[in-house]
């Protein structure tokens, strides 16, 4: 059995990386006001600390809905690329969304999964991905053909750049360490939603 804190039973050869480092690499590659949906918890916190772009949305609750929210934005704005940042525990809570994404096949949606193999914020209990569940295999089995583990930082950069350029839907999973998030988001959901909508150029209807 894999130990906790390393994640990703299906990617034994992949390097264990750091979420904040990868988040900064990802954000640095955004050149076209792409929307980024940060999942509840550390995915969100590291996105916040990477710089508060107007096109970032920070989920304060609704665990598991990062990818569905991203799909909604992608459908509403087909010309804009959307990136959903999700954790392993959150994704395991809402696996059905992968098959929904596959059926709709939005070309402008990229899903990124940070897999540390633990429910980090709730006390580090192991997730199924630490021992038995391979999230990339689950994604492929759900119909996301373009799903891959990032071998290392350079591979992550390559995969993410390809996802933006070639279109999706695609899923990139990264084994990450158990370092906590580097900060916390503001906690005002109306302000976060309003700023995001302004960032997407959406006015009051």
């Amino acid at each position: 059995m894999a130990t906790t804190g390393t994640g990703a039973v299906g990617a034994h050869n992949a390097k264990v990386m750091n979420r904040f480092d990868l988040t900064k690499r990802l954000v640095a590659r955004l050149k076209h006001e792409e929307a980024v949906i940060g999942g509840i918890g550390n995915a969100n916190f590291d996105l916040w600390m990477s710089g508060q772009r107007p096109q970032n949305y920070y989920m304060l609750g609704s665990m598991g809905l990062t990818i569905p929210i991203g799909l909604g934005v992608a459908i509403a704005q087909p010309q804009r690329h959307v990136v959903a940042l999700e954790g392993d525990g959150s994704l395991l809570m809402q696996l059905g969304c992968l098959s929904t994404v596959a059926m709709q096949a939005p070309k402008n949606l990229t899903m990124v999964v940070w897999d540390n193999g633990i429910y980090q914020i709730t006390g580090g209990q192991p997730t199924a991905s630490a021992s038995v569940a391979d999230l990339v295999a689950i994604a492929r089995g759900s119909g996301i053909a373009n799903a891959a583990w990032a071998d290392d930082e350079d591979d992550f950069d390559r995969l993410f750049t390809a996802a933006l350029e070639k279109g999706g839907p695609s899923l990139i999973a990264a084994r990450i360490d158990d370092k906590p998030g580097t900060g916390t988001t503001d906690r005002d959901p109306v302000q976060i939603r309003a700023r995001f909508m302004q960032g997407l150029g959406v006015g009051r209807k």
């Binding site: 304060l60 609704s62 569905p68 909604g72 934005v73 969304c97 959901p189 109306v190």
Partner: protein
């Protein structure tokens, strides 16, 4: 004369027309027998993007994302499906002030044959009330367009979700074949 003029308008004709006149272009659903004719009509109309989700929470996430991206959106579900939603409503839709439009096919009353449906039915209105979500139970087709049209406009104007509970008195409900 067109087909619409030669046959009597149904409840689902009215719902579809009201969604269209309010520019609600995205309709996602978890299937329900009673809602089937509405779902079929939505799929047959190119105005709408419509597709099934694996559960109702997922549908709420999609609707929230679509609204933030500038597209009005609605969810179709049955009563038992609504019962899975309180966390998504309380932690996403309500505090973020997102006008999610919900249609709930009412099960659990007026001839229910499944005890589980009859039980979960009792949680629906208390949950809606606890969350302060505007909801209307629609029993009559002559009130349907007015309630749905005005309430969608109110939801958008006040940035608040709304739930339409479609009574068996309106839809016919699901009949127990004894």
């Amino acid at each position: 004369m067109t087909d619409m003029q030669t046959r009597t308008a149904t409840w689902y004709d009215v719902v579809l027309a009201t969604l269209k006149s309010n520019n609600v272009r995205l309709v996602v659903y978890v299937p329900d027998k009673v809602l089937t004719p509405l779902i079929k009509a939505l799929h047959a109309d190119n105005f709408f993007t419509t597709f099934p989700c694996t559960r109702e929470e997922e549908a709420i996430g999609i609707v929230a994302g679509a609204w933030m991206g500038g597209m009005r959106a609605a969810v179709l579900m049955q009563t038992s499906g609504f019962a899975t939603l309180p966390n998504a409503l309380a932690s996403l839709v309500v505090p973020s002030q997102i006008p999610a439009i919900m249609f709930v096919s009412e099960r659990g009353t007026l001839g229910e044959f499944n005890l589980g449906q009859a039980m979960v039915y009792k949680t629906m209105r208390p949950a809606l009330d606890a969350l302060g979500i505007e909801h209307h139970t629609i029993t009559r087709q002559d009130e349907l367009a007015f309630i749905v049209d005005r309430s969608i406009k109110q939801a958008v104007a006040t940035q608040a979700p709304v739930a339409f509970i479609l009574s068996p008195l309106l839809t016919g409900g699901k009949v127990f074949e004894a």
